[in-house]
Symmetry: D3
Subunit: 242 residues, 6 copies
């Protein structure tokens, strides 16, 4: 019963590893708070983000997917999230009508408090904005009374866009700096299960530190050391100015 | 003693009435929560926003200022805020070095939790962005150890920009919708002390209603009826995604 | 004969009711001036904008469409426009090649003086920008000599984008404020045939009033009370600066 | 009497020649329609745009100003406009309080139907945006009842920003393409009185031709050959969609 | 052998003539420097840009394509580039999965030093941004180790976007002004093989002259007379500031 | 003699340390290439960026300035640049007419090949955009024949804007990634002479590493490890696409 009543969050990740580098702190933070965090990996990143695997002799698509699946599962387990793999293609990812319907159904079943996905633009990676577009359109479909009936509709969960690799080129701007200091060790541990992308461990550790310094500068949180940046899609509805 | 420890907020208003239409809800809300809310009126709006008074025969500048002062004081009292009038000129407002220093000192003395001011652009009213520029630069000066000494510096209070008259022309975008339903009656009452601008009462009541509908649409706050929109200048530092 | 020579206008509406709230004034104004105004409803809004209907027990898709169709026909009749329903899907609307060809043919047959459609972006409703994209691409196809032959091509009718629900979030900016005071009563009457969305009657009445105030402020039209806002896609070619 | 009642227009030009290249067509068009067109030249362009003169041996500031004055007068006469020279400095132009007051008074005395000035940004020439800022602020001051009294205020004349030398770098976008075909010969003739900037004659003839082609492409005006581009500051209030 | 080692460049052109007007100078310049420049024409522009042909009695689609093919081949030969025609549809162009795969393969086989394509937006021509989107996505796919194996991947060739017809409406901004003075005669000669679009010869000659003047103004290249503008997609990586 | 003929570059730094963090690599690179690099420090950063010094008991303004002067001189010497201190005020910096004239004269005397300064916007530090505005306006004045005579004018040196502390909030976008790997050790050594801002050493080392990774990703420069980002003000005029 209690389980059914746990609050939930949804992460829509284009490739199997994106959620680790970009939203691992948020996932760990909310998992620790008792949220069920569902991470939907639209693809395994089997083509575009598995360079290290493809350099091994005799590598096959199946083996790459399997390896990436295992890594992502392990990372999610460390962070405290659940995974779901939709295998919808990588470089290019493509959004079929069925995928949209499936994801809209996930929204209605999960009833998430908030949603995390990619930046709206990314000239380095067209799968990222496509994933966000799909995540947003599925959210809209799931709000419709006529989709699966009036009693299943979702409300208006806020959508947060996590940090792309080269922020300025993506016209991405952090409107929220989420303090993840207390779960940093977990996020870093999750990094280390991504064997296929070891070169990114230090890169994203530095990202965490830079956002941490900025979080401190934009607030009175003197103990903050690590942060994640998010852009909002919708206005923040609140009764506090902080 | 307790009084000295009350949390504070600062409103920088170009003309004597701006704070009523644009931030009256926030002021009333925080006053009710025990905040000391200081409203700095840079001018009386004695030239640009006192048409009704100037149509009276024999009107003088002094009389207009006095009338506007009285109206603003009354509105502030209704909302629960304090006023300070700096009489720095209207149409055009001008920011002298002394005004900057004075306002930076106010920041340091007040140590506000947050700051409210105008939009960054306004092709209809150049005093508005100038007021914001002044409010922002004074905040920066007040953060400097070398201004009045290290023990007086302020931290990094967030700055919220209230809604201009014609939002799209000002490139203003509401990132926060503040639910002011519980203090709406007070805000409306404050409107009614602005005798010189009676034509705006209904206009800003409609603004409150429209923002209220939007707040409801962007959240699960079903009881919301009135809201105020604010644009943020800095990222929101937090440990919650909501 | 005279009828054949009537000037025409084209409205491309994603859902059956959009044209009422957003362009009802323009339609009524031009109908009164003798224009044939064709309103193409790409869908009935049967999923996303029929909440009230879906709450009725035993409701079916067919019945919803029928009810929405009837409402839209009635509203169009009040405004003085003609309707055409393409039933291309709602939440999500999808633009097939056939739909594009069909709409391009409509352009060539109608030879409209101007075109009205939705904003270019809308994070709340992905059908809206899709409808505009389709309306624009069909216009371009209809300009091509090779589509149905040189004698059928259209010229370059200006495209006006009507006001979305939350303008700033859609990066929509009104470049034209159309004075609809003389047809306001008709527009309001059309609202009232939209029984499925009664909650929007007052919302869009307030929109009309706010734009009316702004129209007055941006001109010398002292009698203006209601207006509709439009964003232009193309520059205004003219021999007058007004 | 009749003369007093002529409609008027105001051009605010940073340097003595800007109005010729950028707005000569509009001036000639409205002069021909019986408007009194007042061209306020804030400076003579005596430093920045008089290279040819300064290359003459023994040239003095006074002589440059005189030569530029004469050229501008001649060009204005050809176009049919009146000039006023304010000699407010060039490279850099500076806006004193007195200049603002003076210009606001000109607005009130002239009561222009529309106003022409420079683009909002120009990284090649800081005097241009400053001139526009001054023109806009003076317009706002002239709207204030408290400036010189309620009976002298102006309404809300639209402001059009003429084309800068390198449009994209100035983030300037033509929202109006004014057909100046019928007065092109006059504009070209005015060019030829600007002996100090002969290298620009062909450049701005090509600008006129390119805008002419674009005007034709954006409309059904098949006879258009020359046009001038303008960006609007305020929405166009109208009862026609064209 | 030497041939195999020639450096290469890739031009992705929506219609058969775009590359001539927009990138003819760059093609001629690099052809002269010994580069193999491959021009991929996604369509013949058989519908949208062949008005002159369609006005001939009895014209057929096949004949239009043939004529356009011949013109483009001739222009490319003059410029020194190679052509490839993909016949993917015109007004509308459509990007199938097969087209994406084909183009990604071309990238890998060609290993271009740089890529030229259209602007990111164009309200006058939806095929243009689609071509660029395809060119960019194919480039990304070609960078993936999993596409055709690790030894075939491409690096990160810069992408330059050539000048659209109405730059400001396309939000296109020239970040590079390429001096094409030394090959101008060749570019102009190529224009003249485009018999179907004779009206554009003078238009694009004027474009070349205007960009030439601007190039001179932004540098110390006093001999520059003609230039082409390009917008960059990615930052310029270099060890020189020039 | 030879010395007089050395090429030159100009850095306009709002506070005494900005040039070290933001442009130290460029300075070292060009100094090594034999350029005379002049660093104009408009202020000492005596109020806003000297927190560590102000925490020492009995500190005076004079002593802070002296300490900052010494640090900046030492850092410049390490990098190979020359310094000039204009003591124009800090928090707030102010640009007097005399300062503009002085700086324009420096441009004419130095005849720099390129100019480095701050971002165009910075909500955290208003001195930064003011410094850039001054640097740009002085450059424009120095181009004027009428300023100090035709033989002293400068050409059109490109202006590069270095990276602000929080890039996205400043709407700053790196268009150039300058490879500074070969001079990194020198830049780092210069950091270490800035005793008053020790907390920034690691922050800006991480910035150098992140930009280095991005430079590698955007090119084929596999040996790049550190880079500096710059935004261009003007288009790059060149005869190469790279």
């Amino acid at each position: 019963m209690a389980e059914q009543k746990a609050k939930t969050a949804l992460v829509v990740s284009a490739h199997s590893a994106d959620f680790v580098w970009r939203a691992g702190g948020a996932i760990a933070l909310y998992a620790r708070r008792g949220y069920r965090v569902l991470i939907v990996c639209l693809s395994y990143g089997e083509r575009g983000e598995s360079a290290k695997l493809w350099k091994q002799p005799g590598m096959t698509m199946e083996a790459v997917k399997k390896a990436r699946h295992a890594e992502a599962e392990q990372a999610a387990a460390i962070l405290g999230g659940e995974t779901m793999f939709l295998d919808a293609g990588d470089y290019p990812l493509r959004a079929t009508p069925e995928l949209l319907t499936l994801l809209a159904g996930i929204y209605q079943d999960l009833q998430p408090e908030f949603v995390l996905s990619h930046s709206l633009e990314d000239p380095y990676n067209f799968d990222h904005p496509l994933a966000t577009h799909l995540a947003q359109e599925a959210r809209i479909v799931a709000q419709a009374h006529g989709f699966r009936g009036a009693d299943k509709i979702i409300g208006a969960p806020p959508v947060f866009l996590f940090e792309p690799h080269q922020t300025e080129q993506c016209n991405w701007k952090p409107q929220v700096l989420l303090d993840i200091t207390e779960v940093w060790d977990i996020k870093r541990q999750a990094f280390e299960s991504m064997g296929a992308q070891e070169h990114l461990w230090e890169y994203y550790t530095r990202v965490g530190l830079q956002r941490g310094v900025q979080a401190k500068r934009n607030s009175n949180r003197t103990a903050t050391k690590y942060a994640e940046g998010y852009q909002r899609v919708f206005p923040h509805v609140t009764d506090h100015l902080s």
